[in-house]
Amino acid sequence: MTGVAEPRLSEGGTTRVTAAPHPRARLPYPLVLALLGALVLVAATAGIAAGSVRISPGQVWGILLHQVHPALADPVWSPVRETIVMDVRLPRVLLCAAVGAGLSVCGMVLQAVVRNPLADPMLLGVSSGAMVGAVLLVVFPVAWFGLFSLPLAAFGGALLALVLVYFLARSGGRMTTVRLVLAGVATAEVLTAVASYLVITSDDPRAAESALRWMLGGLAGTTWTLLWIPAAVVLAGTAALLGLSRPLNLLLAGEEAAAALGLDVHRFRAALFVLVALMIGAIVAVSGSIGFVGLIMPHAVRLLVGADHRRALPAAALLGAGFLIVADLAARTLISPEEIPVGILTALVGGPFFLFLMRRRAAR
């Protein structure tokens, strides 16, 4: 049969294939990645340079390169400065990068799972769940897993909260934005209340101290020992998610369409829940609840490179890392010598952004 549409393929098909499949005005993807990478490096340099003792960016890199190989830079700085860079500021900047990248990536994944661009680890109560897990461990200390006890407790809390919110929002029909946000906020409130109660009734003054840090969200006093667990979990988690980016795309098509495209939706979602809870658990255990990073970064990234997770996830990780380094820099320097918990800053920026998104969606 000579179909109406048939000749078109041979005419334009092959020539159009070579043309960019994304005519919408966007920067080339490698350039975006390079720019985001540069942003992270610049932010990190500034983050290490700034503080009560100012260190020039050149000296920052001198100290870092000297550590990599002594021949790369001559030590013209005092040992105190080297200690400040190596033991105080570098671990903190690296932790900011890991936490920011992890929150941003988790936000993007949660948005795909619930098919709603208004999801965020804090808005969905996942961070509060992790916090309750962490507080429980401080109040009733068990050290079965050594250094891993705290992140594991936070992971357990995060997973429980995530599953709870997901099924609350889904029960009795379609998961609308309103149901999702209400379920998340209510769960977060209850869990935060549980954490507060545990802290107040506890005799241990250390409990109150660490709980306050978790609730406000902050990265003060970061050391190398705090860094390596969240950094490793975020790196491994992001790598795993990159391998899952095609099925993540299918989730955007809807549950049935994803099933028809060969995805075992239930199993995949369960795996994502565990992965996200692991990452959020590891993050919250060191930084507490830092909100809205996971909401804002994915949006910005989708505007830059589109929604395809194969392209969006790496960009989200880089942008999240750069953003949180800058936010933490502001948190330390705005009212120095005092420090603002960085979670307060991200909420000040993120809250209005969230409302703006809600309005825009309602308008459509």
Partner: protein, 274 residues
């Protein structure tokens, strides 16, 4: 483009019970290679439920679905998706997906983790869109397409899966007359086994080799359109008084509903005016 091998799709006494309510009761259906089977019936007859069991979105409570003799519920989803594609009513929304992104999803069953789209994939993606006269939309944001354009993109996604069997749930919804005809003509030209739910009985009569009529979760009759579409069936199943004539030029049965007879038999929920 090499045509995929058309398969045989069979539903064997498929029963679906949800919350104690039977939606399908022992429905059997068979589509031979390259056959186009139209699934028709009033709203709530169980058409979508039956299709769901075919594209592996709902497991039958009892009964089996066989693709070339193999139980689809015993094979990995990916393997099925390489041999059977579906066009559903569900559309992706709210994210900044381009038309290219949406059609590229159709390549997923053929790909491993970390494997990118190669030139052949891109050719299939753009080629599938071109088949639906939608190649010019390739970079457009999917969100902002019209209903008809979205529908064509979703059909292109199923084509990009390069399967020998298609399951289509109301693929002509939202399409204007010419695009309805074009879409069904394309399906016929592809030469793949097709099970398609259609509301428009005249359209179904002109394009399907066989019609399978469902009502209240049961098979009423199955056969060539000329045998199936009788005034008696339309009265029993759709509760309308209709005349069926053979069209003088096409030879297909054509239905004309007579509007002002037996109005008391009409029930609003059984009719679809859309």
């Amino acid at each position: 483009m090499t045509a995929p091998l058309a398969g045989t799709l069979q539903a064997e006494r498929v029963t679906v019970v949800i919350d104690g309510r039977p939606l399908l009761e022992a429905v059997s259906l068979a589509a031979a290679p390259a056959e186009i089977v139209g699934l028709v019936g009033p709203n709530g007859a169980g058409k979508s439920t039956l299709l769901r069991t075919l594209y592996r979105a709902r497991r039958p409570t009892s009964g089996r679905v066989l693709l070339d003799g193999e139980d689809i519920w015993r094979m990995p989803g990916r393997r099925l998706a390489r041999r059977l594609a579906a066009v559903l009513q569900e559309t992706p929304g709210d994210f900044e997906l381009t038309v290219y992104d949406v059609v590229a999803m159709g390549r997923t069953p053929h790909k491993r983790a970390f494997q990118g789209d190669d030139a052949a994939d891109r050719e299939i993606i753009v080629g599938s869109l071109a088949e639906l006269e939608a190649a010019h939309l390739v970079g457009a944001p999917f969100d902002r397409l019209s209903g008809g354009e979205k529908q064509r993109v979703l059909i292109a996604r199923a084509l990009a899966q390069r399967t020998g069997v298609l399951v289509l749930d109301e693929p002509t919804n939202h399409l204007d007359l010419r695009h309805q005809i074009d879409a069904l003509r394309l399906v016929r030209r592809l030469g793949v086994t097709t099970v398609v739910a259609l509301h428009d009985l005249n359209l179904a009569a002109s394009f399907c080799d066989r019609l399978h009529v469902l009502n209240a979760g049961r098979t009423v009759v199955s056969g060539p359109p000329g045998d199936v579409l009788t005034p008696q069936l339309l009265a029993d199943v759709y509760r309308v008084d209709a005349e069926v004539v053979e069209h003088p030029r096409s030879g297909h049965p054509q239905i004309t509903v007579l509007p002002d007879s037996n109005p008391e038999k009409w029930r609003a929920d059984d009719l679809d005016f859309a």
